[in-house]
Amino acid sequence: MKRLFQKKYIIPFVLSLIVITTLQNCERDDICAATTSTTPRLVIEFYDIDNPESLKNVPRLTVYGEGQILNEDGQIIEPIEASDKIIEDYVNESSYVFNVNTNKIGLPLKIDDGLNNETITTRYILEKDTNQRIDATGESNTDILEITYKTEFVYVSRACGYKSIFTELSVTRDTDSEPWIANIEIEETIELTVENENTTHVRIYH
């Protein structure tokens, strides 16, 4: 009885030591919450050219990245409803911007365009009146947006790591004989930086 600690207590000591060490190895994985503001999309709203303060739906709009819609042989084709590279609806992630009337879209931007330049370019095709092409009742009108910017990596959190924001934004429309986009404006308040999706970045007038 001289000692408080006898041999029988040494074994639980060592055992608990081993248990604790193993528990430490599998720390609870922190999950990056969906509500966290991470890499933003470019948010575009469509306004009426005749009434610049009011939103105006683009009739039967389809939006996809240039060179993203390919057939089985890898050739560029025009999209059909089943094409999987139509962008997602801004609000409803399970529907796509294919042949819909909408006034707001969110475009995922490339973080790397493979060209190793400081300025990165992402190009999107915006097709108006898609139904006329599908029904073969007329012609749709496609305009191409060229978006250029620089990336900047910003720390978010332990769980999410880093996000990219986009600076020195510039958005232009390719010259076109029959454009439906009349004017493009970058919102002054964002100071050419796409930082989050809380605000609209670009206004397109049509």
Binding site: P12, F13, L15, T21, C32, T38, Q68, G161, Y162
Partner: protein
């Protein structure tokens, strides 16, 4: 959870010991006289090492570290105590892989709450520490988190590391633990640590995910935790008398 069981069994055994001692007094009524007993108590420097950190260095590929502990007995109940250590820890998840390495020092006091029997020198103690760490943190690689990266089918991966040097942190720490003499002058001890981060240097465009001595940080609070398992050896420097007045019963 195992550690709780361990504490429970230790505390239980302590209680049983105390009970036994009261039973011994509660005997037939007899005449009592005071008896003065003098025990020699050893005072000195107790030096040891944290075995759990050593063991983990062998088991865990992402960890190497050691800690040297020491305490010096000032009075019957108060000890000056401190730890010094060095750690290297790699943390990885889906998006980041980082390595933190550095040294730390903790200093403070331990107060023994355990009333020892006879000449024993075991401790059930509560301790307070101030801890300081200097370290560096290397971001080995990371992936840009982009919920829409499916569209362009690219996961942007940054491989070149970035090192954040001369980082520091300061924290306060509460310890609860026990130390028991296994055999002559040789002690084993366990403790749990609750830490509160007072200040840290935040690296630019990054944060301290791990601080040597403090362990991992949490996004939502400044509290952290830890534990220790020490083996130590007491270098006796001098002895003091412990005077115990016992009531002794003798038959009339």
């Amino acid at each position: 959870m195992k550690i709780q069981h361990m504490f429970a069994s230790i505390i239980r055994s302590v209680i049983i010991l105390l009970l036994l001692s009261t039973i011994a007094i509660a005997q037939e009524k007899k005449k009592t006289i005071n008896d003065t007993l003098i025990y020699k108590q050893k005072y000195g420097l107790r030096l040891g090492a944290d075995i759990s950190k050593l063991a983990r260095s062998f088991i865990d590929d992402n960890y190497t570290g050691f800690e040297i502990t020491g305490d010096y007995r000032l009075t019957k109940r108060i000890y000056i105590a401190g730890e010094i250590g060095n750690e290297e820890r790699t943390l990885e998840n889906d998006f980041m892989n980082t390595t933190t390495k550095g040294s730390y020092f903790k200093g403070g006091v331990d107060i023994n709450f355990y009333k020892n029997w006879l000449d024993m020198e075991n401790m059930i103690y509560s301790g307070f520490r101030i801890g300081a760490s200097t370290f560096s943190s290397t971001l080995n690689n990371y992936t840009i988190y982009d919920p829409n990266n499916q569209y362009w089918e690219q996961q942007y991966y940054v491989e070149e590391g970035e090192e954040f040097k001369s980082l520091t942190a300061l924290w306060a720490e509460l310890q609860i633990g026990l130390k028991a003499e296994l055999f002559n002058n040789f002690f084993a001890g366990v403790n749990i640590q609750l830490k509160f981060l007072i200040s840290e240097t935040e690296p630019d465009n990054y944060e301290n995910l791990y601080i040597p001595g403090y362990n991992r940080t949490f996004d939502s609070s400044k509290f952290g935790g830890g534990f220790g398992f020490n083996l130590s050896y007491l270098v006796p420097i001098f002895k003091k008398d412990k005077i115990v007045i016992q009531e002794k019963e003798i038959e009339e």
